[in-house]
Symmetry: C2
Subunit: 100 residues, 2 copies
């Protein structure tokens, strides 16, 4: 397994729009075992994205999907910055049902 | 939904042991919709925990479960520090199958 955890800061007041843009890409990504977008409760412009993939290759391949490219293009102008980005190896736990 | 994302640093060389201690508590927690433990690829002593709960109350209630109390007691001496702890509101995404 391969994982990503990142904090993304939207342009002021644009968080909802950013979530909509990113969330539209998450329906059909081969090798994606989990993808959660969460609002930071302490920072009104920030979101956290936690991703679980079969491996790093499936994550990289997803970036070439037309839906994902379209989502990135739509999201880019709404992003003020990336405050954190870490790669992980998920090793334990459960992800039992849709988060939304 | 209520979420938590945290980075925990194990005592040097104790990451595997810490993961085992924490992972043992994750099987039956009412209201838990996702719980992933992941090794930080860049930091050999750190782990990231991403949690999804029905609400904050279900998370708080879990801390009183005997299995969770036992896991915390076992984990505590293995923890060197908490480098990050944020609360979130998960709003979109998918969590489709067991991560381990």
């Amino acid at each position: 397994m391969f994982g990503l955890i990142g904090k993304m800061r939207a342009q002021p007041g644009k968080r909802e729009e950013l979530i909509s843009a990113i969330g539209a890409s998450t329906d059909a990504m081969p090798g994606c075992k989990g993808y959660v977008i969460a609002e930071d409760l302490a920072d009104p412009d920030s979101i956290w994205i936690t991703e679980l993939w079969d491996d790093e290759a499936s994550h990289k391949a997803s970036l070439q999907l037309p839906e994902v490219k379209a989502a990135i293009a739509k999201a880019r102008p709404l992003i003020a910055g990336f405050d954190m980005h870490v790669t992980t190896r998920p090793v334990a736990g459960l992800t039992s049902r849709p988060a939304s």
